[in-house]
């Protein structure tokens, strides 16, 4: 873990909505190739953090640096194009389309065309094949024809994977996962973990915003905790959960 270079740095991020200060001076670094977990009770600003970093919400103050370049206040699609992808907590796939067709949209983007190395051009065959390949990588069993099923018929676990697949189509360097484990049963989560590991081994840096701490701690290299928009702890998960402030945030109990 030591010696890894920072791929994404956040400095002093502030965001206020109406009267509510959602983020307050949040600063941290994400190291290349690691899995960073972000935890915190509801309303701690986790989703706002992703939104500010990935360009869906404009931060009031602060900077976001990706690979040394300033991407603060860039528009969302530009940020996705340089390689910072994100999932959405509330997924809205195209239910009336088969699963693999859902990937046509990200595959159509300039980045996917560049990185994917095939000539974009609207030829159905190319993109469809790549889409199916990505889905297979992500666990959609090709023999059972799962990629061809309508998105409306897929269970939540598959939909979560589809969301990840949407990011993968961009061949990103960093993926911000907004609660990918939520809404899944224990066994479904258990089957997601190897996928997360696989992505990491493929060289992708992951930032997992999570509520399911036990599962998160199985894969996270480091963990960061937020409360009321402020960073209250950072480090190895064992240290973070022992931190007094984290305990208080989650359980409301003061350390004796």
């Amino acid at each position: 873990m030591g010696g890894r270079v920072s791929i994404l740095t956040v400095e002093g991020l502030d965001k206020t909505f109406g009267g509510l200060k959602a983020l307050s001076g949040v600063s941290f670094s994400v190291k290349k190739g690691e899995i960073l977990g972000v935890i915190g009770p509801n309303g701690s600003g986790k989703t706002t953090l992703i939104n500010c970093i990935t360009g869906f919400v404009r931060p009031d103050e602060g900077k976001v640096l990706f690979r040394g370049g300033d991407i603060t206040r860039w528009r969302a699609h530009r940020i996705a194009r340089v390689g910072v992808a994100r999932t959405f907590q509330v997924m809205r796939p195209f239910y009336s389309l088969p699963a693999y067709k859902n990937l046509i949209i990200p595959l159509w983007s300039p980045r996917a065309r560049r990185e994917g190395g095939w000539r974009g051009g609207g030829k159905h065959g190319d993109r469809d094949t790549v889409a199916i390949d990505i889905l297979e990588e992500i666990g959609f069993e090709r023999d059972s024809r799962v990629p061809y099923k309508l998105a409306s018929t897929l269970p939540t676990g598959y939909l979560k994977r589809l969301e990840l697949a949407r990011c993968l189509a961009l061949r990103p360097e960093v993926i911000f996962c907004d609660e990918v484990f939520s809404g899944l049963s224990a066994s479904e989560v258990a089957s997601m973990l190897p996928l997360i590991e696989k992505l990491k081994m493929g060289g992708i840096t992951l930032v997992l915003i999570e509520h399911r701490l036990r599962e998160l701690f199985k894969v996270a290299d480091r963990v960061m905790a937020l409360q009321f928009g402020e960073k209250i702890a950072e480090g190895h998960y064992k240290d973070v959960i022992e931190d007094a402030r984290v305990k208080e945030a989650y359980l409301g109990i003061e350390e004796i």
């Binding site: 989703t47 869906f56 919400v57 959405f88």
Partner: protein, 288 residues
């Protein structure tokens, strides 16, 4: 001085006409493209009452305002409520209704400039050496009175507070138990009634023509966009801006450019600050 005086009068007039539109939008997030149509309709109803039914003028005015408010409420209840939430349909529907009403009036006889309403107060007085007709002053006074009344309504009555709450944050208001559909109905009735009120005040200054319907719609939209869609304060400020701009164009250029200036102002606003002057609304949808 003349410019100042007429500028103020014009601005208040403008804000009166735009008020109904802003009100409806701020509460039900619906751009009521039939706004101008309702304006003209109310004038026509009053005219009918007075000239065809021979009613007393004051009674005719009351009938006109109430009837328009009812039409607005019916429009909401029968048509819009059924398509609530489907933005494309909502827009097309109000547009179609507005058009149907305006063109229907045109076909039904509202042609030429023979339809006039008498002024309430004849004569004029002199202010600082300039003759101002009493009707215009009456409009000015009424306008101010209406704003004050609305301000009080919104501060002190339950319905008024509910409306203000919805205008500020619909979801929060719903969580407090305010039925936004019901209130949207009220806002439509209120908005229509207000445009009727504006109409009966202002139409005596000219004649009732169908084109007014389109003009009123455009000006109301201009005021709303420049002031910020949904912002009441912004609408007032914007109507002053446009009101004065209109007077200045009339004085220094010619009346024909008035509409052009307003429309250009819209484009400029969209380019520079799309959410308008007081647009506290995120002009983009923040649905993340």
């Amino acid at each position: 001085m003349e410019i100042l005086l007429f500028g103020i009068i014009n601005s208040v007039t403008l804000s009166l006409t735009a008020l109904g539109f802003t009100l409806v939008y701020s509460i039900s997030r619906l751009p009521n493209f039939a706004h101008g149509a309702l304006y003209v309709t109310s004038g026509y109803i009053v005219w009918l009452c007075v000239n065809t039914l021979g009613l007393n003028y004051l009674l005719g005015i009351v009938v006109g305002i109430v009837a328009t408010a009812i039409i607005g409420a019916l429009m909401y209840r029968l048509i819009i409520l059924r398509i609530r939430g489907m933005q494309i349909s909502e827009i097309i529907a109000t547009y179609a209704i507005g058009l149907a009403i305006i063109e229907g009036l045109r076909w039904g006889g509202l042609r030429g400039s023979t339809f006039t309403l008498p002024s309430f107060l004849a004569g004029s007085i002199e202010i600082g050496g300039i003759a101002v007709d009493n009707q215009r002053l009456f409009v000015l006074g009424s306008g101010v009175a209406v704003f004050a009344a609305l301000g009080l309504f919104v501060k002190f009555t339950k319905t008024g507070l509910a409306l203000k709450a919805i205008a500020q944050d619909e979801r929060a208001a719903m969580m407090l138990g305010i039925d936004s559909d019901r209130k949207a109905l009220v806002s439509f009735a209120l908005g229509s009634g207000l445009s009727a009120f504006a109409a009966v005040l202002i139409l005596p200054l000219g004649s009732i023509v169908v084109e007014t319907g389109y003009n009123v719609l455009i000006y109301s939209i201009a005021v709303s966009i420049i002031g910020g869609l949904g912002s009441w304060g912004g609408a007032i400020v914007a109507s002053f801006l446009i009101g004065f701009a209109q007077i200045l164009t009339e004085v220094f250029l010619s009346t024909q450019y008035q509409m052009v200036i307003s429309l250009l102002a819209i484009i400029v606003t969209l380019l520079l600050k799309p959410s308008g002057i007081f647009g506290k609304q995120k002009e983009l949808d923040d649905r993340v």
